[in-house]
């Protein structure tokens, strides 16, 4: 086992009824990398995230996270091993406050048991306070501390995406999967997002896989790209290599190319 590998997919396939979403996909992500996962709509990018996080069980093939086979494990187990993600269609706890969204991500950290919780022991309040302080640090990091008490569902699009990233970071992941984080953002917000991605990559020692259609963001953050089309990998390499790869151009521009 090469201990520098964060994530490996080995011949993974997944279909839904008759639709082959992923076919015999193999890819690797080394520790510390930022890898871009790109491809046309319906190529199977989100399905890759769903397979890695245990939302779906692969039909065949192996998914290895830090040397351990995790394919088919339940999501909460995979998350506890150090994988966090954001969703293409933002899934915040909309009715709860911005702060509570991050607090929930820290749910495994308070050090008290059920008995102490029911008895309302002093240490429960102390631990909860510690968690709130920690949650505020994450909000600070993404620039949301002045909105801590706001209902998460009331956040504008760009900020909601940042809250989702804060919530994922609070899980203390080794591998972060970002599913189209720039969708719906304006150019200024995308520039900020680029800074944020590079900053958390460095500060948290993260490995990141980024699904994104905004090529400016991909080029600015990902030294290596993997291109999917119809559930298979059609190319892999640096942005420059990918931009001139005939198969990629064909996938994006159609048969007429």
């Amino acid at each position: 086992m090469r201990d520098t590998m964060m994530l490996e997919l080995r011949g993974v396939s997944k279909s839904f009824g008759g639709i082959k979403a992923i076919t015999d996909l193999s890819m690797e992500v080394a520790e510390g990398e930022i890898v871009g996962l790109i491809g046309p709509n319906g190529a199977g990018k989100t399905t890759v995230f769903n397979l890695v996080t245990g939302v779906y069980r692969p039909d065949s093939g192996e998914i290895v996270f830090r040397g351990e086979s995790v394919g088919g494990l339940p999501p909460h187990v995979i998350v506890s091993k150090g994988v966090a993600r954001t969703f293409q269609n933002i899934r915040l706890f909309n009715n709860l406050s911005v702060l509570d969204n991050v607090k929930i991500a820290l749910h495994s950290q308070p050090e008290y048991g059920l008995g102490a919780a029911l008895a309302g022991l002093g240490k429960v309040a102390i631990e909860n306070k510690r968690i709130v302080a920690k949650a505020r640090e994450f909000l600070d990091m993404v620039g949301l501390s002045d909105r801590a008490k706001l209902r998460a569902g009331a956040l504008p699009y760009g900020l909601a995406r940042r809250l989702e990233i804060a919530r994922a970071l609070a899980l203390n992941p080794r591998l972060l999967l970002l599913d189209e984080p720039a969708a719906g953002m304006n150019p200024d917000e995308i520039a900020d997002l680029k800074e944020l991605i590079l900053k958390i990559h460095k500060d948290f020692n993260l490995t990141i896989v980024l699904i994104e259609h905004r090529m400016d963001l991909v080029m600015a953050t990902c030294p290596r790209l993997v291109v999917l089309n119809f559930g298979t990998k059609i190319a892999e390499g640096s942005p420059e290599e990918i931009q001139t790869n005939p198969q990629v151009l064909q996938a994006y521009l159609g048969e007429d190319y």
């Binding site: 899934r91 706890f93 495994s108 008895a119």
Partner: protein, 290 residues
């Protein structure tokens, strides 16, 4: 006077059961039309213990609540595990409620459908109030702890909750066990207040009344369901309606609450002085605008 105290005592007991279901439905987002069965298990266990074995009242009530909890876990393990079908549990628990009634009606020791008379009266208004206060305090502590955060996350979005590393199954199971414990306590108190219990007291009608209290009281609130449970006991008593009209009255009250307060009496809020002041302010604002 004695009659009024009796109605209040029953309101407190029903409030305890409503607190339990508030944890399961109001805070964890899981639906149940069978929680009366857990009241029944608590009532019969506690009553049989004091009646036949002379077990002290408090111990008997706790034992009844524990029995309800254990049985709720036995039901919960297979049904809550069915990950993709959250309705499994809702359907299974209805069947379970019926099964409990049939068993109680056919056991020798419970004296069947005729019911169990001659239970000593240990529950009175002070006892019921004290029990309600203790149980409300426990429920509050639970909700404010990390266990409560997990439950709320599961209610708000199970998929996102799982991605926060929350074990859906364990979270739901814990809430179920807790809620069954509350129902069991309510049952034990009820048996030792009425001095007579009968399987028919713990059927779908009572389950419906509990879920109605939680929904009308407000999802995400503990005090709301207690308040609503009391209202659902007190108003029919005030109106002195015949039994057959009670369900009609419940339905009517539910509709009125849903029309005028769609989130329930106290949806996402707790009854407090602060909240009442806020309510006053909101109403003033409404009237000045109008």
């Amino acid at each position: 006077m004695g009659y009024a105290l009796g109605v209040l005592t029953l309101s407190c007991i029903q409030g305890i059961a409503a607190l339990g279901l508030a944890i399961f439905t109001g805070f964890t987002g899981q639906f149940s039309l069978g929680h009366a069965a857990f009241m029944g298990i608590g009532a019969y266990t506690a009553a049989l213990l004091t009646y036949f074995a002379g077990v002290p009242f408090v111990i008997a009530v706790v034992a009844g609540a524990l029995a309800a909890t254990v049985i709720s876990l036995v039901i919960g393990v297979p049904t809550l595990k069915a990950k993709l079908r959250s309705d499994y549990f809702a359907i299974a628990i209805m069947g379970f409620g019926e099964a409990v009634r049939v068993i109680l009606e056919n056991l020798q020791i419970t004296q069947g459908a005729r019911g169990l008379p001659g239970i000593t009266r240990y529950t009175n208004l002070p006892v019921a109030l004290l029990a309600l206060a203790i149980m409300a305090w426990l429920a509050r502590n639970f909700i404010l702890s990390k266990y409560g955060w997990r439950a709320i996350a599961v209610r708000e979005d199970p998929v996102a909750a799982e991605m926060m590393g929350i074990d859906l199954f364990r979270t739901k199971l814990l809430s179920l066990g807790a809620s069954a414990f509350f129902s069991g306590v309510a049952g034990g108190l009820l048996a030792h207040y009425l001095m007579f219990i009968q399987p028919v007291m713990f059927t779908n009608v009572q389950s419906t009344q509990l879920i109605a209290a939680v929904v009308a009281g407000g999802i995400g609130s503990l005090t709301g369901p207690v308040l609503a449970a009391a209202i659902f006991i007190i108003i029919p008593e005030l109106l002195r309606v015949a039994n057959m009209w009670r369900l009609v009255i419940y339905g009517l009250m539910l509709i009125l609450i849903m029309v005028f307060r769609p989130a329930g009496l106290m949806g996402y809020h707790e009854l407090s002085l602060e909240w009442l002041r806020g309510l006053g302010r909101r109403n003033r604002r409404l009237t000045t605008n109008a």
